[in-house]
Symmetry: C2
Subunit: 407 residues, 2 copies
């Protein structure tokens, strides 16, 4: 495909207008929105207003006057159509890791006769660490199994199955409904980490029978570095499960200052301390970039971008890299990884050339496609540069590697 | 004291210059900085730059390029002289409640032969809720005792004594060194919540023998609504205690993406998920308002302001209100509460008149004095307005109460 052909695809792209919702640096092809989403146009002004006019002018009165107190619910409601859940099942809180700890602990305690947590042995590291820490606290066993072995690992001892929906390296996507069904059949709960899927692939948490989920605000949701996370608790579980991380913001009546804890009805009990109002304002702008956009269109563009990238890379330099993930679009999230023995140096050369992806040890170069702001032309440009770099003769020269391996 | 006398005190105030570090709303006397600190002049610009130039322009490269990764440590280092601790003992993370959960759980698990947590029955509610939740998870007993009974309640079964240094209602301040000594003698650890004291009173965490502490970023530290919290772990305990809230940011090598958790050396292990970079930038500006200022001067002004307020109120309307806290300056933090049967309506009338304090059920009107930006003139004005309101004959008229009781 020529750059000309790619521009024609961009002209026909029904989501092309959404790129104007972002402030992207000139001259760069940013394919790392799966690590840190781009800056929405609205964010700096909105956060500035929150600082100057709400905090600065109205001070403490803003908790009610500007309804800061409702922000974790108000912002979460914008997620509902994106992930296929009801408003009252979603909440913005803490970090993904802390949310995972809350829900995992709550889930295990709700199944006291079951002492096993099942997870993918290659789950995202922070998930594994959270699981390990919670299991040690709860006196549970962690069953780490390969991706293909999840269903077989779910037996009557399993309290919770917790998985990351899309693998951060390969982009491989779990069949969420199938895992949920297998867990349900065995009486276990499911807890999904949606960090690498929400905002880029179609999700139907209700329709696929999800019990619990958490996810990240700073990747495809463009909430800014370290944005607060979100959590999901299916309505029918909200009376049964209780977070052990009890704080005043999750109390039924925080400002009654009562001496004993009474969890709020519904999803609000998963709040703990006072949330960052500035970080919530930024995440709100991030979610507004999805306004009026159907996730079916986002997911279709994600598939088209990543499929085009694979084709172009394999056509140009397929003899030098190996696709490290599913070839079938429906089996993937919105990023694509290739293995190369000098992956780190290759990615540095790409970045030097204006194409920003990511390197994941030991040998993966990773490219994320954010359907709201990435274009077909960018995909072609990235594949072209990668091809040019890998076809350069100097890859056999140790000196060339040394030059690129600047850390 | 006349307003003229008060202005003379302000002219002689060695901290008067610090008020220019804040952007305070005109025409208001803000005595609620103990609930939400005022906006520093630098914050909006700094957060705006972080959004536009760091996130917007440099995107993912900012984690190293703008050293976001070190921000929780870099900002925490500014706390060291304010609380009397070493750099490496302090960290910015999460919310106060989540930090409390982490340290409380770590402390109890470090004393496995002891199953009791001692606290003040009138501790701040979120502290009580966190303690209750953690105790339930850990299978511990919580011994809730009156303020005067702490020392007697510490026996060989006690793992941790956890208290709020300054009471959020009365302003009563614990003798930290005495409690620490009693706990140490019994082999128990101490965990202090400094939310209502740090930044307003002199602290010497090291000198007074503190083991563990947490505190708030949005009160006297002016970090903005819901600013991240801080935590302190004494150096000699850092190898012994481990947070069960394990996440990748607390790993010894987060970007190695190893499958098993290896806590970072030192205070860094208490990080969990990715922290909010925007919230950290705002808190950084909040802490910069203390730059070059000795806490002995801050504490001296705090005592002088609150003492003047008590004298002026009691002189003007001492027959109508009752001081609800210590009279002795050294026994208090930086806020003063008075009891009045119609406290809620009184505070509404004060706010209508431009004096912003707080109401705490059932009958307390509370006034916080932030030595960096509150003046003697403001103290006198607040006492005058309170006197005027309470001496108004219409307090006997139910209609007057109804008018004021607007919620």
């Amino acid at each position: 495909m020529t750059p000309h052909d790619a521009r024609a695809l961009d002209r026909g792209d029904p989501l092309a207008f959404a790129k104007d919702r972002f402030r992207l640096p000139a001259g760069k092809t940013y394919l790392d929105g799966n690590s840190l989403g781009a800056l929405p146009v609205a964010t700096a002004v909105r956060v500035g207003e929150t600082i100057r006019h709400q905090w600065g002018d109205d001070l403490i009165a803003s908790w009610t006057g500007h309804d800061w107190i409702e922000a974790p619910f108000r912002v979460a409601a914008k997620l509902a159509p994106i992930v296929g859940a009801r408003d009252g099942e979603l909440l913005i809180a803490d970090s993904t890791s802390v949310c995972l700890f809350k829900l995992l602990t709550a889930a295990v305690r709700a199944r006291p006769d079951r002492r096993v947590i099942v997870t993918d042995a290659a789950n995202f590291p922070t998930d594994l660490y959270v699981i390990e820490g919670a299991a040690s606290l709860l006196g549970c066993e962690v069953r780490r199994v390969p991706a293909g072995g999840i269903a077989d690992a779910i037996d009557a001892d399993v309290a919770v199955v917790t998985l990351t929906h899309v693998d951060y390296r390969s982009g491989a996507k779990y069949d969420m409904a199938a895992v949920n069904a297998a867990a349900k059949a065995a009486g276990a709960l499911t807890l999904w980490d949606l960090s690498h899927s929400a905002g880029a692939v179609e999700l139907d948490l209700n329709g696929s029978g999800c019990d619990l989920a958490v996810g990240c605000g700073y990747k495809y949701f463009n909430g800014g570095p370290g944005a607060p996370a979100f959590l999901f608790v299916a309505e029918e579980l909200q009376k049964e499960l209780h977070s052990p991380l009890q704080g005043w913001m999750g109390h039924a009546d925080p400002f009654a200052f009562s001496a004993s804890y009474q969890p709020a009805d519904g999803i609000g009990q998963y709040l703990t301390g006072t949330p960052s109002v500035l970080a919530l304002a930024a995440l709100d702008c991030g979610l507004d970039t999805f306004s009026g956009i159907l996730m079916s269109a986002v997911a279709a563009k994600s598939r088209a971008l990543s499929q085009l990238f694979i084709e172009e890379v394999e056509r140009g330099c397929g003899d030098k890299v190996e696709l490290a993930g599913p070839r079938e679009p429906d089996a993937r999230g919105s990023h694509v990884s290739f293995a190369h023995p000098h992956g780190y140096a290759v990615m540095q050369a790409l970045i030097d050339g204006g194409v920003i992806g990511d390197f994941r040890a030991p040998n993966l170069i990773r490219f994320g496609f954010a359907p709201l702001y990435n274009s077909y032309a960018e995909v072609v440009r990235a594949a072209e540069l990668l091809t040019e770099i890998l076809n350069s003769a100097s890859w056999d020269q140790p000196r060339f590697h040394a030059r690129l391996k600047v850390t």
